[in-house]
Every structure is written in C-alpha cells, then in structure tokens.
Subunit: 436 residues, 2 copies
C-alpha cells in the first residue's frame, strides 16, 4: 500500500503536479520511502521469515523474494534511504535544467552526490567482483558485470560488423509519412489508445496521460498506467511509445490476482519486463502484418497526412536504420549499441576508472568510436537519459537483455503473422500470459 | 507529508483513477490513515507537548492546536480509524450507486455502519450535551448544537418571512443565457481558468481538473488544486464552482510560509474556510460590478451564446431566487434553508431521535415544510450530498456560518465595487490576506 501511494506521488509529479508543488513532493516521497523501509526491516519480519514454512510454489517464491528484499533492506540504514530520496529529487531537477541548458556542469555536483551514495550502498549490500554487481542485482537478480560483458561483447561485434552492410543495402524512402508532418494531439492520442485497447490493455484498469518521458507505473494490478508524449511532428515516436509502454502494462495487468499485493507482483525482473515491452514494440509493432492491419485505420483518421501510404511503405519507414545520438529514438539495430555504451560507462564509473567530471569526455570518445559521430552537445550525449538522476545505475543493460529474451520468446510463439494482420492480438496476449 | 500523500490519493480517486483501481485505493487510504494516526499518537508526542515552552504567538498556537489534535486522536483506537476508512470507502461507492438508481435502500446499511462508528467516536471523544457536539468540533472548534440552533432559528424565521416577498417582486427574465445553451467544454474550462487566474489563483501552485463534484484540496500550500464540472447546458454552475473553489484555494495559497507543514496550515476552521469561498462566490461573484467586468470577456469567447447579453441581465440571471431541490444549485436566499434542514436532521439522527431507515421520510416531510415542494425521488432529496457517505457529519452548518462570517467581513472591506468592475481583484485578496 505504501509502495502504491509512493508510485502515485511519482506519477503525479511527472504528469499533473504544478511546478511549485515539488517542494512538498520531495518531502512526501522521502517520508513514505523511509516508512516503507522501516516497515520492511521491522524486527518482526525477521522472525516471521524464519518461522515461515511455505508449501505451495507461490508461497515458496513469496518467502524467497521477501527474504531477498528483507536481506538487502536491512543492510541499508534509514539515513541512507532518505538521503538517496533527497539526492535524487535534487538530481532530477538539476538534470532537467542541465539538459535544457545543454550544460553537464550543472548536473555534475548532484550526480557526484548520488554516485557517492550508490557506492556506499554497494559496500553495505556487498558484492564479489565489481561494485556494479550489487546494483545490477536490483534489476536482474544475480546478474554480474562479468556475465553482461560476456553477452554484450559478441553482440557488439556482430552489430558493428553488420551495420555498414545494412546501411549500404538500405534504400531511403522517397517520402516519410509518420515524421515531419503535423499530427494533431487529440487525434494522435485517441489513435494510440485505440491501438493500446486492441493490444488488450484494459482502460478500466489503466489510462494514458502525457509526460515528458513515457513510462509505465502501477499502484496495484488493477491500476496500471502508461504515459506518452505527442510531438506533432513525430507521430511515429508516439505510436512506438504507446506500444512499448503498453507491453509493460499488459505484463503488469496479467499478474495473477492470487499474487496481488505481494512481493511477487511486479514481474520477474526488469529484463523480463523489457522483453515484453520491446517485443510488442519491435517484433510485433514493427512487423509488416502490424502495418497491414493499422494502415487503413490510421488513414481513416489522418486523411491528408497518409495519402499514398501503404503498409509496405510504413513498414519500411519505421524500420529505417540510422546511427544517431538519441537512444529512445534509435532503430532496432543501433539501439543495443546505445545500451552497450551506457553499460561500459556505468560499470567503469562504479569501479572508479574515471570521475563524474570526466563523463562528457568519456561519453563523446566512446560514441565517436561506436557510431562514428561527433556529439554536438551534452543534451544529445551524456545528458539525454533520466536514469542516473534517479539513482538508476545498472538499469540500462536490462533493455538489451529484454531484446535478447524477446527474440527467443517470439521464436517460440506459433506463427502470429495472420493474427496480427487481421488485428487479432488476443492469441499473442494469451500465449504471453500462459508462458511468461 | 503523510496527510499530503493521503490527499493526493483522494484527489486522484475523484479525478483520474480508472474504475477498477478502487480495490487498491481503499487499502492505500486505510494504511496511510492508520500510519498517520499511529504517528500522531506516538508516546514521544505526549512528552514533547508537555515539555514545549512556546514563546512566539505562532509557536503558542502551534502547541495549542497540536495538543487539540493529539488529545482527540489518542482517544480513538487505530482499529476505529481503519474501520472508518473502510466503511466510508464502501459508503462512497454505495452512495454513488444509490444516487444513480434513486434508491436510498442501497445506501442504508453502509450509512448505518458509518453512523454506528461515528457514535462510537463521539462517546470516546466525549461531549457535554449532544453527541453531535463532538462532531461539530472537528470542523468548527468548540461549536455546539445549542449555539448553532441559537444562530439558525432567527435566520430561518427571517428567510421564511422574506422568501414570499422576494418571489412576488422578482421578474422572470425574458431569456436565460448561462443555462440551457451549449457551452463547449474546452472553452468553458479555459474561461473559468482565466477568471481563477484573475482572482489571484496561482496556476504554478495549483490546477483545475474535472470531477463529478467540485472540491478543493491541497498537498501543501504550494500545491493547492481545485476541480470543477462542466455540464455543457449549465455554464453558470461551472463559473460559480470555479469562483467558490477558487476562494478556498486562495485561502490555502495565502497561508504563511512560516506555517508550512505545521498543524496551523489549513485554515482556522471550516466555517472560516467557507466564508472565503462563499464570499468570492456570492458577494463578489454575484455582484453587478463582477458582471460589468466579465461580460465583454465572455462575449469575446462565446459570441453566439451571449448575443444581447448585458452585465445587468446576467447579474439578474445569476441572482434569480427559486426554491428547488438541489443545495449546490440553490440561490443565495434558499441556500441557508437547505443547510438548516440538514443540520436539524444530522443533530436529531446523532441524538437517536430517529433511525437511518427513517431518513427519506424525515427528509421529505421537512423539505415540504420548508420549501413547499414534494421531493420526487431520493436522488433529488436525501441522496444528493456526498457528505454522510464520507463520514462528514457536522460539516453542513459550516456553509451557513461561512455565509454569515462572509457578510460581516465584506461589510468591513473598503468599497470594492470600482476595483471589481475594472477587474482589479488584487485589493480584495490583499485585504483578505491581511485581515483573515
């Protein structure tokens, strides 16, 4: 219940909160986080966990996961929790301003403070090899920097080898439909909600609101909300944000009612969570059958913008590969390079191989290396992502893990192309709910 | 902070929460209310209050009000608090359904449970004469049924004597502008927000959203939100809801930053709170100068709807007196009769003079007596107000007390008519912030 209220405080901060409300919101978040931590580390819990004799598979998993959460939480003092909440609250505002002004220097000190607290956290939690391992474990249990490196290295080599061939063989389309034309907000929002509903997203247990950065949150399995942004010149981005966040949302909505309000609600891991969002976004949403179904519907709403568009043309348009600066706008091929870059930087930062003040330089050199491009300013480089300002270090690898999981899952699914082409998304959802 | 988070949970429930989310929301509210109560009644608080040696006027008031809250809270067990939260959560949903189906019987059992808990509360809190006194005190400190009766009886006599004369002398206007014509939602919403901003309502520290019943809430003095409803056929109602809730909002926004996050923020009493909302609504908002200023602005937005409208015509239209069933739509004259009716019923119900099951009959007889009208169904009678479903018994008198306070305050204010007619609302706000 406290976690649900906390999530609502966050959701409101990103959607509707008036700007001056931040002064209260930071305190409210710090207070609720501290109470949550106190409740979780209550001495009674230890005794209850010791006495627990779970029999069913659910109960066993519940005790195991509760114990994992309890063990970690008891290692962290209340003081660290509330300091982190305050540091990330300051960090978020500093990051916003720094990004707006394209000046990393405005974010440096707040990030240094966050990093210091995260390092303290890793020492308290403990790790075998790299302090980064203690953080990875928050998002993907038992994952280590070593394991990630072993997965990412060959992937990187493969992408770097394939990219020039793809770019060489790729034809630039004569006309782009989904970007560079005006799509009015109200119609664009309604269209994305029609797509979400068709995917199986339940609008009686959720809603789509506007925020600067799309995200999914929930206050329980019957209240799972997504957000989106609507740049009138980039409808493509809004479609794929809706489908991506919808994938997260469907995963949460599909959690068994038996697990409601327990530690087992919320998904197996962030990587598995991302496998759902990235599968809907890329393997379903960027497929030709997807556009075979949705092109006529969208043409019914956006007559003038989509004159002459065909499923084939839109399919090619949304799959164009183009190395560029921004991760969230990246194509499927270069996306993983963005992640690998962030992983290496996070890991090395946590291992003390360079300082926060070195970040822009490290970023820009690595980016040039991987993408062959010069980063023109910090907002198109090291400042583009919200994650570090929120203390989310170790999160990035889950995106690529999600991609890799999703490719394997999708390969196991019976041929879905006919269903997708006829707008019959139910068998997909049923398969996912049964197997994932 | 916990109270602020709780208020956000309530706000979201009334504005954006998807329907199935109620299952989580009830639990979240119960949990946070219980934690709030536990913190307030912590043994350390008693010691701190005993040791407190306040010197400044603010500190003395703070200790006094904290002690008042502490003394009351310690008399109520945690169990009663969480039972009440659950009972009112069920009560709200039952009331909504009963009102939709016009059947009091659907609300009877949940209301009986709430009443039982409220009676238990009055016995634990204690009172001298009437159990109703223990509840009045929550909204208007030290108020008693006896005092209210002494104020309301002569008021009632005066209104009942004046009403026929008013009705006899009043001319029905040839045409109504603000009701019975279509005012589109988006323009109507924008117009009310322009009015709110002109009153001095700070949209960087607040916002207006849609809800079934207009209300004001806050999560601190820098985040004070109002809601409104927009029936396209009743723009008048939306204007006066905005001005009314705006009055509440301005009062909260005007609280000194020194008092932020203390027991002294939130206004002196509900009656004084209502004096602010009712003054803005009736004494300012229903004045001729108000319409002299706003008529041209509104005609600029609503051309066809307001052709031929003049400040004088609109002034008369919004001041029409007409005895009718619904309190929140009532004119200034009959409004207090609605309150007196509810006061008598609440008081007698708490004193055991009749049962919950008698409520519709008692209501309808009293209404016929005071208004000369037969109540056609429960939704136009005993089911119209949300208050009892929320356990708010003893709240209603504060509306009429607010009217009486506001008339006295307004009489003390230097002549404001010129300011209002020229759209200069700042002197009003300055006077109120200095004196109230």
């Amino acid at each position: 219940d406290i976690a649900g209220a906390t999530a609502l405080l966050h959701w409101d901060q990103e959607t509707y909160m008036p700007v001056k409300g931040i002064i209260h919101r930071s305190r409210q978040l710090a207070t609720l986080s501290t109470i949550y931590h106190q409740k979780l580390t209550d001495k009674k819990i230890k005794k209850l966990l010791e006495e627990a004799a779970p029999k069913t598979i659910e109960d066993k998993a519940l005790v195991r996961e509760f114990k994992r959460g309890y063990d970690k939480a008891t290692k962290l003092p209340d003081r660290l929790i509330s300091e982190m909440v305050e540091a990330t609250s300051v960090g978020l505002e500093a990051w916003k301003q720094a990004r707006a002004e394209k000046k990393f220097s405005l974010f440096q000190k707040p990030l240094e403070r966050i990093l210091k607290l995260k390092l303290e956290e890793t020492e308290l939690v403990g790790y075998k090899e790299s302090p980064y391992d203690a953080l990875l474990d928050d998002y993907e249990p038992d994952l280590t920097a070593k394991k990630v490196t072993a997965i990412f290295e060959p992937l990187r080599a493969e992408i770097v080898a394939s990219l020039p061939k793809i770019l060489k063989n790729q034809k630039t389309p004569a006309k782009k439909y989904l970007t560079g034309q005006h799509f009015p907000l109200d119609k664009a929002k309604k269209a994305t909600e029609t797509i979400l509903a068709k995917m199986g997203y339940d609008f009686e247990a959720g809603r789509q609101d506007l925020s600067t950065h799309p995200f999914t949150t929930n206050f329980g399995i019957k209240d799972v909300r997504v957000t989106n942004r609507f740049d009138p010149q980039n409808f493509q981005s809004s479609i794929y944000s809706a489908v991506h966040e919808g994938g997260h949302g469907l995963y949460e909505m599909g959690i068994s009612e038996k697990l409601m309000n327990t530690f087992l609600a919320g998904g197996t891991s962030l990587g598995i969570h991302e496998s759902q969002s990235r599968m809907w976004e890329n393997l379903i949403g960027r497929s030709l059958p997807f556009w075979q179904y949705w092109t006529p519907y969208l043409q019914g709403i956006f007559h003038s913008q989509l004159v002459g568009a065909t499923p084939e043309k839109l399919f090619k348009e949304v799959n164009l590969v183009k190395p560029d600066f921004i991760r969230v706008e990246a194509d499927e091929v270069t996306y993983n390079l963005h992640i690998i870059l962030r992983f290496e930087i996070e890991r090395d930062l946590m291992e003390g191989k360079f300082l926060v003040s070195d970040l822009p330089e490290v970023w820009n050199i690595k980016f040039k290396n991987m993408f062959g491009l010069d980063v023109p300013n910090d907002s198109l480089g090291v400042l583009q992502d919200i994650h570090w300002s929120q203390g989310s270090i170790g999160y990035f690898p889950t995106y690529t893990l999600g991609n890799l999981y999703s490719a394997q899952f999708f390969r196991q699914m019976p041929n879905m192309n006919n269903h997708i082409a006829s707008g019959n998304f139910e068998p997909i959802l049923l398969w996912l709910r049964k197997n994932i």
